[in-house]
């Protein structure tokens, strides 16, 4: 596969790993955060940590838009789906996320009609095919996905559809990064910046991180070599005492972002005054809602959602994992009470949640694996 395979080349990985190791100052520990859940997934799926020296640790950040949806909002979605003549449509990522009474799959077992779609446009198709039903699209994702929701709404408006609406749960990345930076329990040396979010918002929004907090940022692609190269670029900056924003993913990310996409978002949506992020609490101006002008497509206006705030189970430490304070295996219920089969929190059930990634891909003691490999070699 072009633009994919060449960035999965093992030989180049070894070369990059050697360079990264060479840049490590003896006695110094490096903590780099990858913000984006997609990066967490790639890191674990390809076993990238095997290439890093012991002194470089990757800390998993909160950039998982599924993980940060509070249980109350899942309950709201199920409530919407339970209304008469409603077909709820959702991405696959959400289907197993637990609300206080179960997930979308569980709700379907009780009689709702929640259908999986690959694109919001599929949702539109379902609306056209079912004029007597109300089709609601559960919109999730950061700024990467918001433009697609926006374009779909514009198409729906142009087609004069009256049975399509959006339950908007889009969140924005910068407030989450700021919450991490302001968090007293975390000392990070640099950030592996989100790749696909940046195709929409560009690289400028991260400049405050380098300028005001003195941490380097490298916007990274999603193939394993992209991430390794980004780590290398961060280490170069750190060794030179620089803190700048760099773009490793320049083949896809334009420095200024995608204006058409930003306009579409601006036309159809606006920032909520505040929004609750699971594990991080209430963050102001961190999420999107449908504009008044498109009220006819706002599921929250069309239907009454309970909007009940549901506290996380006491045992759940998703917040600390999302902030990178705890490693997944350090959570008290990781792997025992909280497993992919019986998730207590969304870090475990989202495909890119740090806990799911670690449980499904990384559940091995790397030091011992390395020791065994070493023993095998000698």
């Amino acid at each position: 596969m072009r633009f994919v395979d060449e960035f999965r080349d093992a030989d180049k990985a070894h070369a990059l790993a050697a360079k990264i190791a060479a840049l490590c100052e003896p006695g110094r520990q490096y903590k780099l955060m990858e913000v984006c859940g997609g990066h967490t997934h790639t890191i674990y799926k390809h076993g990238l940590e095997d290439y890093l020296p012991e002194s470089v640790t990757l800390v998993h950040g909160p950039g998982c838009p599924v993980c940060v949806i509070p249980m109350g909002r899942v309950d709201d979605a199920i409530h919407l789906a339970s209304q008469p003549d409603v077909i709820m449509t959702s991405f696959g990522d959400m289907m197993r996320v637990p609300g206080s009474g179960g997930s979308f799959f569980d709700a379907n077992a009780e009689g709702t009609n929640i259908r999986m779609v690959y694109s919001p446009l599929d949702s539109l198709k379902i609306a056209k095919q079912n004029p007597d039903k109300q089709v609601v699209f559960m919109a999730i994702g950061f700024e990467t996905t918001a433009p697609s929701t926006a374009m779909t709404m514009l198409r729906a408006a142009a087609a004069g559809l009256s049975n399509f609406s959006v339950f908007c749960n889009h969140v924005t990345i910068v407030p989450a990064i700021k919450a991490i930076l302001d968090s007293p329990d975390l000392r990070l040396d640099g950030f592996i910046g989100p790749g696909h979010v940046s195709t929409v918002i560009g690289c400028r929004p991260y400049e405050f991180i380098a300028r005001d907090y003195g941490k380097p940022v490298v916007v990274a692609g999603f193939e394993p070599l992209d991430i390794l190269q980004s780590i290398y670029m961060l280490m170069v900056q750190l060794s030179q005492g620089r803190s700048e924003v760099e773009n490793q993913y320049s083949r896809v990310v334009p420095w200024d972002g995608n204006l058409v996409a930003l306009k579409a978002i601006g036309e159809t949506m606006e920032l909520r005054p505040y929004f609750e992020w699971r594990g991080l609490g209430f963050i102001s101006h961190s999420a999107l809602q449908v504009r008044e002008k498109y009220a006819a497509m706002d599921a929250e206006r069309l239907f009454q959602v309970p909007g009940v705030r549901v506290a996380d189970p006491k045992a759940c430490q998703c917040g600390e994992v999302l902030k990178g304070v705890l490693k997944p295996w350090e959570c008290k219920v990781f792997g025992t009470a909280c497993t992919p089969e019986t998730p207590i929190g969304t870090c475990m059930v989202s495909p890119e949640g740090a806990c799911a990634a670690y449980y499904n891909f990384g559940r091995m003691n790397r030091t011992r694996v390395a020791e065994a490999a070493q023993a095998g070699r000698s």
Partner: protein
């Protein structure tokens, strides 16, 4: 989610901490957690849900838990316990294999075959990988009110042709009709019976360190074909189901390598599920290499597009074989000599380390675990 289950986990965790765990180096603390998790995984499975969900049908963790906690628990007997693809029975002096399957696929007709093909081939394959010569099938039909008879004819004709190709006979059957809205057109249940004439004893519990794990061809063709054939994804590809009867292929393998330890038909849950079954039932480690696993370019493309891992996608004409290490080359040669095994390959080995765990060496050179999924692999956007 029962509170007591959570409290128990918290208590265990605090016990570990109280034992001065915090002073240990990081790697040791992580190992303790991993050990605790391993113990938790080996506990007796319980079904926590009150209702059946789609996950229970996917062939992954939820299915396994359902089978063990509900069916095995109720029906428990030594013939059922191995939970292999077919049961091995003695009828008088004859050794007989018995299997059953149900087919609920939608759409009924797809590139490469029909529900009828799946019904015959799937049953034949479960018998073949159990070391039996497949002989006789039963076919029970559950038909939906309103189902076109012309479609029923198509299904039945494909079953006739599949049976001829596989060398089996459909000797008994049943028909029921249910109201419109149930049965998705047509559901088929089969049972299959075969004679075990070879002196073989097959079962994944017999896998031993040093054994080679072989797959008979490219994986994921069937599952991806079905996903695309449903038409919801608007994806076109030149793919068709790999449904095929494997009894000829199996015979060739057993002739060349009588010491085959186990074979499994790779259906729902995909190759990844079988690897986990080997690791768990034999209490061994499994190490496979991503580079060695054959996958068609289109299956890869569709999987990348959807965010699905082909290792969990169903096949309907592929087998996974565990053979003694020294017989690996002969086994692959025997499979490749047959048209259905042209791309057979050794994908990994059984080993002592990390029992119960399947590890994958990625094409990139790193390592990761391949665990059972809870339910179906779901397309993701993240």
């Amino acid at each position: 989610m029962s509170q007591s289950w959570i409290d128990q986990a918290l208590a265990e965790h605090d016990e570990l901490d109280a034992g001065g765990r915090r002073q240990l180096p990081l790697a040791d603390r992580e190992q303790q957690v991993l050990d605790r998790i391993d113990r938790a995984r080996r506990r007796r499975p319980k079904v926590r849900e009150e209702r059946i969900t789609m996950s229970h049908g996917a062939g992954g963790k939820a299915t396994h838990t359902l089978i063990e906690a509900v069916f095995l628990d109720a029906f428990r007997n030594p013939l059922l316990e191995p939970l292999e693809d077919a049961a091995q029975l003695r009828l008088g002096s004859a050794r007989v294999a018995l299997t059953t399957d149900s087919y609920v696929v939608s759409p009924l007709f797809f590139p490469g075959g029909t529900i009828g093909d799946l019904a015959v081939n799937g049953t034949v394959n479960d018998l073949a990988v159990s070391g039996a010569t497949p002989l006789y099938l039963s076919a029970g039909f559950i038909l939906e009110e309103g189902f076109p008879v012309a479609d029923l004819n198509r299904v039945v004709e494909s079953m006739r042709d599949a049976a001829v190709a596989a060398g089996v006979h459909i000797v008994t059957g049943d028909t029921k009709v249910v109201q419109k809205g149930k049965a998705d057109g047509c559901y088929i249940n089969t049972a299959g019976v075969g004679l075990v004439e070879r002196d073989v004893s097959l079962g994944v519990a017999q896998a031993q360190p040093g054994d080679a794990i072989i797959v008979s061809g490219p994986i994921g063709d069937h599952g991806i074909t079905i996903m695309l054939a449903r038409g919801e994804l608007d994806i076109e590809a030149d793919l068709c189901s790999d449904t095929a009867p494997l009894n000829g292929l199996v015979a060739g393998l057993l002739d060349a390598v009588p010491g085959v330890r186990a074979m499994r038909d790779a259906t729902r849950g995909g190759v990844a599920t079988i690897l986990n079954e080997i690791a768990k039932d034999a209490d061994v480690g499994v190490l496979v290499s991503e580079d060695e696993i054959p996958v068609r370019a289109e299956v890869r493309g569709a999987s990348e597009l959807l965010g699905i891992d082909p290792m969990y996608v169903a096949c309907e004409g592929r087998l996974v074989a565990v053979v003694p290490g020294e017989a690996a080359d002969q086994a692959v040669a025997a499979l490749r000599a047959h048209p259905l095994g042209e791309r057979a390959a050794v994908i990994g080995r059984v080993r002592e380390e990390q029992p119960g765990i399947v590890q994958l060496k990625t094409a990139f050179g790193g390592t990761r675990i391949v665990d059972l999924l809870v339910g179906d692999p779901l397309p993701r956007i993240c």
